[in-house]
């Protein structure tokens, strides 16, 4: 969050925007909101970073940021997309991860650097967000969206989404 009070107010307005596909997470929780600056003419410039390159939620989030800031009284708003540095699930806040789990989506396990490497990977245990069992099985590496894999719990028998480490 910016230190300048004026920019901080704009940040807080932008940070109310949520992911249209995971409405419990704000773009701040996700680490998608990268920076908010206000120039001398009062123009607000927001930088967002895409989670996945083709994620259709990004366009909705970009439009929602424009609307949120406009409703908060900013007349001139520019939302830029930045690719570098590339978004990583490491930027997701701890509060965000906890919200995800309560929502029924298991949060990324560990950070991106710890992701197993090599052409043929071993499967890692993913904890069931409902009953905390590690006795789970991957059903599909690509779930309802690019960012999620589909798992099932062999103890409580519920299927669940896992937010993949990126």
């Amino acid at each position: 969050m910016p230190t300048d009070p004026a920019a901080r107010r704009a940040w807080q307005a932008a940070a109310t925007v949520t992911d249209p596909e995971i409405p419990v997470l704000t773009i701040e929780d996700l680490g998608v909101l990268r920076s908010v600056e206000i120039d001398d003419d009062g123009r607000v410039r927001v930088q967002l970073t895409p989670t996945y390159s083709g994620c259709p939620a990004l366009d909705a989030m970009r439009d929602d940021v424009l609307l949120a800031l406009t409703h908060a009284g900013y007349d001139e708003v520019q939302v830029d997309l930045v690719l570098a540095p590339a978004w990583t699930t490491d930027w997701m806040s701890e509060a965000g991860k906890e919200k995800l789990r309560r929502y029924g989506i298991q949060a990324p396990s560990g950070n991106a650097a710890a992701r197993p490497s090599g052409p043929v990977r071993v499967a890692l245990a993913v904890k069931c967000p409902r009953c905390d069992s590690l006795n789970t099985r991957e059903l599909a590496r690509f779930g309802s969206t690019s960012c999620k894999a589909l798992y099932e719990c062999r103890d409580c028998l519920e299927p669940f989404d896992y937010f993949k480490v990126l």
């Binding site: 390159s53 930045v82 690719l83 540095p85 690509f142 990126l166």
Partner: protein, 291 residues
């Protein structure tokens, strides 16, 4: 607010009428690029970005055709999601390519004819059966992973940023293709037979990916591009590890007849035409339409 209730006058509203479409259009016209600043590609970098973007877009279009046709529902979703990632890569790359000539990513995607496309032949090969799609996915994703891992350290900031973003996603595509190669090769007699056939049919198109030419040689000198030939050892090492795990052999020797390919110069196989026709028909029938 003054005036009759039913006649809303935007000038009375502090913020005016806000249309998301209008704002988005204004922003696009401002020409902001991948890093948020205004960057214009050199003619050579644009041509290179076009090659990369065309590879990604054509492969995305192929994978999208599996939606509602894949062997299981989860695979519809997986191939659709992989296609979506590739469309994202193509959008960034074509947007950047277009900055050199003032064309938009849509102009480049929908209003170029076959000889103007720069994709390699591998990417335009038909889906075949599921094993053929997986063989193509394995070759494509391992190649793209090697390429983007190197390009992310390149000297062109925009291409490097797109590569750094894309490589993380391509890594998952590589993983997905690997899992299916293992499953098909170790599945039934029939699935194994089909996997072996698919690899034999796909491999003649691999050579072209690693062919150097004048453009990449010029760009590699300044660190904008990577010489394709230098990617081959890394590619083969990964492929060999996967094939060893699956009990398969990498085809060698008999693939030289296709080495020249021709996609980078706009010479294509018969499969690109119908693919472009399907992809472009709507945009060409209704130029400028949005939905």
């Amino acid at each position: 607010m003054s005036g009759p209730d039913l006649e809303h006058d935007a000038s009375d509203d502090v913020h005016g009428d806000v249309s998301v479409d209008r704002l988005a259009l204004a922003e696009e016209l401002s020409g902001t690029s991948a890093d948020g600043s205004i960057a214009v590609a050199s003619a050579d970098a644009a041509e290179y970005a076009l090659r990369l973007g065309d590879d990604a877009l054509v492969l995305a279009q192929q994978l999208g055709m599996w939606i509602a046709r894949a062997p299981e529902l989860e695979e519809d979703v997986a191939l659709g999601n992989i296609a979506l990632d590739l469309v994202g890569h193509a959008r960034s790359l074509l947007h950047y390519a277009g900055t050199a000539s003032g064309r938009s990513e849509d102009d480049l995607a929908y209003f170029r004819d076959e000889p103007e496309w720069r994709c390699a032949w591998l990417f335009e090969q038909p889906n075949g059966d599921f094993a053929h799609t997986i063989a193509r996915q394995l070759a494509a994703s391992v190649y793209l992973f090697e390429l983007y891992s190197r390009l992310m350290h390149g000297t062109d900031e925009v291409i490097a940023a797109i590569a750094a973003k894309s490589v993380k996603e391509v890594d998952y595509h590589r993983d997905h293709a690997t899992q299916w190669v293992l499953r098909l090769a170790g599945g039934t007699e029939e699935s194994r037979r089909r996997m072996i056939t698919a690899i034999a049919d796909t491999w003649p198109y691999v050579d072209e990916l690693f062919a150097d030419d004048a453009l990449v040689e010029r760009l590699a000198e300044t660190g904008v591009a990577v010489l394709p030939s230098t990617l081959r050892p890394g590619f083969e090492e990964v492929i060999d590890e996967v094939f060893a795990e699956a009990g398969l052999e990498r085809p060698t020797g008999r693939t030289a007849f296709i080495a020249s390919g021709g996609g980078r110069e706009g010479r294509h196989t018969e499969h690109l035409g119908p693919l472009l026709a399907e992809m472009q028909v709507l945009a060409r029938a209704h130029p400028g339409a949005s939905w």
